[in-house]
């Protein structure tokens, strides 16, 4: 299987994602440069990593969403390609319109880095199918703009369509409805604020629940 990790100027979790995919999951990994649009059809997974793309100037993820590579990601996702956005990557996917909702400044206004407990709230998707609804994962967060917001009617629809994938057990940032990770209606695009790549072969190792779900799903597609 083949995965790709995008590097924007200011990405700083791209190395961590590459390491986890290569060493822990033993996938072939390509790095994609933000300036170069290309056909991503050959990949089983595209990761939009964490960091501060373009310095987070303007709005987190806003400038990145207009980069040449994100044009390619939109095409790839439209054809069902599995796309994962972590932290800043989640912000980029929201800004790109690939995921509903938006991420704004934490309620405390401070940057927060700590392990948080998440509850699996949907598992009929490529990302949590190896976990049970109600399962708890402990993963680190590290962000100052991770407060997920969405309008109430849209939330009801997302809930109905099992798009709310992960929720905080103890809400650290003021996210509406305790949301920490969501997918699109087709479920091939997933974004979350916590960092599974930092807890895969280290710390709690709970990130493996997400990776194994992805591997399992992809294996079945063949």
């Amino acid at each position: 299987m083949k995965a790709a990790v995008i590097t924007f100027p200011g990405s700083n979790c791209d190395d961590d994602a590459v390491f986890t995919l290569q060493h822990t999951l033993e996938l072939n990994v390509d790095r994609l440069w933000h300036k170069e649009a290309k056909d991503l059809g050959e990949y089983n997974l595209v990761v939009v990593p964490g960091g501060f793309s373009y310095g987070d100037y303007l709005r987190c993820g806003a400038v990145a969403s207009h980069s040449p590579i994100m044009g390619s990601v939109k095409q790839y996702a439209a054809h069902g390609g599995l796309t994962l956005g972590i932290c800043n990557g989640f912000q980029v996917l929201c800004e790109s319109g690939l995921l509903p909702g938006a991420l704004i400044r934490n309620l405390t206004t401070n940057f927060i880095c700590r392990d948080v407990t998440l509850r699996v709230t949907a598992n009929n998707n490529p990302w949590t199918n190896q976990l049970k609804i109600g399962d708890e994962l402990t993963l680190p967060i590290a962000h100052s703009e991770g407060r997920y917001i969405i309008e109430e009617p849209a939330y009801a629809e997302m809930k109905e369509k099992e798009q709310i994938v992960l929720s905080y057990v103890s809400n650290p940032n003021g996210s509406l409805f305790d949301i920490s990770g969501v997918c699109n209606e087709a479920k091939n695009v997933f974004g979350l604020m916590p960092h599974p790549e930092r807890s895969s072969d280290l710390r709690t190792r709970h990130g493996m629940g997400i990776w194994q779900s992805f591997l399992n799903w992809s294996a079945k597609q063949k």
């Binding site: 100027p9 200011g10 700083n12 979790c13 190395d15 961590d16 390491f19 986890t20 060493h23 964490g50 960091g51 501060f52 373009y54 310095g55 987070d56 100037y57 405390t108 401070n110 940057f111 927060i112 880095c113 700590r114 680190p140 590290a142 100052s144 960092h195 790549e197 930092r198 280290l202 710390r203």
Partner: protein, 744 residues
């Protein structure tokens, strides 16, 4: 405005901080008076900050060699061998003066500067730490300074993507007018990819890379070499402004250029910007330089040579490469949307010549600028030292235990660091193992695949002790740092230091510096931890009042296996507690003495470094036995603070703690005494025999001092008598929330 080429005068020299003696020396050597631009160069390079003229003669005492030393002091950072062809590059630096004037930018650019020092060596930064000293709660500006500094460090480090994993934060009134911000960064580098800052090879090209130059920070180095007065708070324009996004690009572009073989030598533009980087690089190689200042990318128009040379605009590098590689080098920086421009060439003749608008504005011999005359500062011990050693031991003895315990627990310094620590990304890089902001942080080196290698990092200093006895203070700051690493099972391998003192022209301050350097030298020699890099920050005075001597130590340790790490927390309600090391310890210089007598007092007892060495070996052996996973170094606040911290950090609830002080022992000395080495460990009671044997093999005292339980209370007994008890949850809540006030 004075023109660059205007001939200077003694009055102008004085205004720019060049002494009459130094000015005469310069004029004699040059056989003319320097012009204004040249005088600016001397003013920066002869400043204490750049020249180390007061401290250098004493710093030569430091042990700087050892089997692991790949690079000692004198470069942008020191490097130690960690095996398998890899090295760890590290350094600590102060940003005290800017952080007082503008806490957010001052602290942020402090982080930026130290990151550049490390990646300039070719190393990828993997961990940062900081040591912060603030005024106390009575100082109205303290909360704003704390908040600004912490946010500055966080915003910069988080964006660049280097985890901030450990730190020390200390509140004391001696920092009311002069807070300290010391930043540490470590990076890892392959031996054959180490880069140095030497401008060699006649005909090679000097390339300016990174952010554009503006007027910010002009004369920062000179500012950092003067005492503060309250009016100085108006000097905001001399504080640099940082951009972590540009730093991240500069980091990636620089490492990419290095890995592509496009860099021969490199230096970051830190204090005194282009001036120090160019003269120092030429000095190291024994060459000269010719530079065309018009070529420097600028973000403001009409900069004079004086401003271009002294600007401390951030995120800039000076790179040496060969003429045939310039084009490829520029291309790498352009890929990362950064400027890179050839600005000069390397010449023979050991002179630096610079032109602006076709006019020669600088023509100076390299050595005259780069090797200023040293200052021979007189020193003598303070007259009132012995008075401070007086402490009414009896008064303390008869005071009720409850009041003494509360005195220590109410200390602003006895607090959970998490309200600060959680504002820093401590895990980016996928290396951080376990707890951060504890005795020491541990990171795996995932680049080394042939065997398990982990590095441990800690910063430490005990300013209270350094004030009472600077030699013992220096000694104990090193030993304490070593113990912090040892309780995690790491072998201490070397240090960097940041020597923060007052005005060296005051013989008493100079004495503190000389004594602390002696103490550090003794400890580093005994513990085999060479000094490989460092920084000196003097003139930390405001309105004539000096800070306490604060020789901050940043220490690196090595762990060469993948065995589990002990942490400073209880992991079960059925553990036995033992204190390894002397059960009773002196109260002189302790937190209790300071809190009780409302002044820092008592005569500290000299640390026996042989016992410290044995305790380090004991801790390392203990981890390998896997007989315990809980160990904590006992320091400020003695056994009282250490045992409570382990209970508060416990990962089981409810947790109770019963400390039993053996009959006949002095309760104050057991509970509040502070000496080295003392380690508190907790283990399954069945393992006692083996652990006690291990302690005796290392000739260390071992005493069982209690146990954990699920009672939810903290109890202190002597024999069978209950001396004191408190509710764990209630005590923990106070400890955990104490520093939250700064961030609400």
């Amino acid at each position: 405005m004075i023109k660059d080429t205007t001939v200077s005068t003694p009055e102008l020299a004085k205004q720019l901080g060049v002494s009459a003696q130094e000015y005469d020396f310069i004029c004699n050597k040059l056989e003319r008076r320097p012009n204004y631009a040249e005088l600016g160069i001397f003013s920066a390079m002869y400043s204490e900050h750049c020249s180390y003229k007061s401290s250098k003669p004493h710093l030569r005492k430091f042990p700087t060699s050892g089997k692991r030393v790949l690079q000692g002091p004198g470069e942008n950072a020191g490097i130690l061998d960690i095996g398998e062809g890899w090295g760890v590059a590290f350094k600590m630096e102060s940003h005290n003066h800017p952080s007082f004037i503008e806490p957010y930018q001052g602290a942020a650019t402090g982080v930026g500067g130290i990151l550049r020092d490390v990646f300039t060596m070719g190393a990828r930064p993997i961990a940062s730490m900081n040591s912060l000293c603030f005024g106390d709660e009575t100082q109205p500006r303290t909360p704003a300074i704390v908040k600004g500094v912490v946010k500055g460090i966080g915003d910069y480090g988080n964006c660049v993507g280097v985890p901030t994993v450990a730190g020390q934060t200390f509140f004391h009134p001696c920092y009311n007018g002069n807070p300290l911000v010391n930043a540490f960064t470590a990076g890892i580098v392959k031996h054959e990819k180490i880069f140095r800052a030497s401008a060699s090879g006649i005909g090679n090209v000097l390339v300016y890379a990174g952010a554009k130059t503006g007027r910010d920070g002009v004369h920062g180095a000179t500012m950092a070499s003067q005492e503060f007065s309250t009016e100085k708070e108006l000097e905001r324009p001399t504080v640099q402004v940082g951009d972590p996004f540009t730093e991240k690009l500069l980091l990636e572009a620089t490492l990419e250029a290095m890995n592509s073989g496009l860099v021969l030598a490199i230096q970051d533009m830190g204090a005194a910007g282009i001036t120090s980087s160019s003269f120092e690089m030429a000095d190291r190689a024994g060459t000269g330089l010719e530079m065309v200042l018009d070529k420097i990318p600028v973000r403001e128009r009409n900069l004079t040579a004086y401003e271009l040379l002294l600007s401390e605009s951030q995120e800039r590098m000076l790179i040496v490469t060969s003429p045939d590689r310039v084009e490829a080098l520029v291309a790498v920086f352009e890929k990362w949307d950064l400027h890179a421009v050839a600005v000069g060439t390397i010449t023979d003749g050991k002179r630096v010549r610079m032109t602006l608008h076709g006019e020669q504005v600088v023509d100076l011999p390299v050595d005259l600028v780069a090797d200023p005359p040293m200052a021979d500062r007189p020193f003598c011990p303070p007259a009132d030292l012995k008075q401070a050693w007086f402490m009414d031991r009896n008064k303390l003895h008869i005071a009720p235990l409850e009041s003494k315990i509360q005195a220590v627990l109410l200390d602003l310094n006895f607090a959970d660091p998490r309200p600060l620590a959680e504002q820093y990304d401590s895990m980016v890089g996928n290396r951080t193992q376990g707890e951060t902001f504890d005795d020491a942080a541990v990171l795996r080196i995932r680049e080394i695949e042939s065997k398990a290698v982990r590095l441990a990092f800690t910063v430490d200093c005990n300013p209270r002790l350094c004030k009472l006895a600077p030699r013992e203070g220096g000694r104990r700051s090193v030993a304490e740092a070593a113990m912090n690493l040892a309780v995690r099972g790491a072998e201490p391998i070397g240090i960097t230091d940041c020597l923060n003192f007052g005005n060296p022209e005051n013989p008493e301050v100079m004495w503190q510096l000389v004594e602390a350097v002696e103490g550090i030298t003794e400890a580093c020699t005994a513990l085999h931890t060479p000094v490989v890099s460092g920084n000196v920050s003097l003139y930390n005075d405001t309105d004539g009042k000096a800070i306490y001597p604060t020789p901050m130590i940043g220490m690196v340790g090595l762990i060469e296996d993948a065995l589990p790490l002990p942490f400073s927390r209880f992991y079960s309600t059925e553990l036995e507690l033992a204190l390894v090391g002397p059960l009773e310890a002196a109260l002189g210089g302790s937190v209790l003495a300071s809190r009780w007598f409302k002044r820092d007092c008592g005569q500290p007892v000299d640390t026996d470094l042989n016992i410290v060495n044995r305790a380090i070996k004991f801790c390392r052996d203990l981890r390998k036995t896997r007989l315990t996973y809980a160990a904590h170094d006992i320091s400020d606040g003695g056994l009282l603070s250490a045992s409570l911290e382990m209970a508060f950090r416990a990962n089981v609830e409810p947790i109770g703690l019963k400390l039993v002080i053996p009959a006949g022992k002095d309760v104050d000395e057991v509970l509040f005494g502070e000496a080295l080495p003392r380690v508190l460990i907790a283990y399954d009671p069945g393992n006692r025999g083996e652990i006690e044997n291990l302690a005796s093999r290392h000739a260390l005292p071992f005493a069982v001092v209690g146990n954990t339980n699920d009672g939810g209370t903290i109890q202190f007994h002597q024999g069978s008598a209950l001396l004191w008890q408190g509710d764990t949850a209630e005590l923990k809540a106070r400890w955990a929330s104490k520093w939250e006030v700064f961030f609400n």
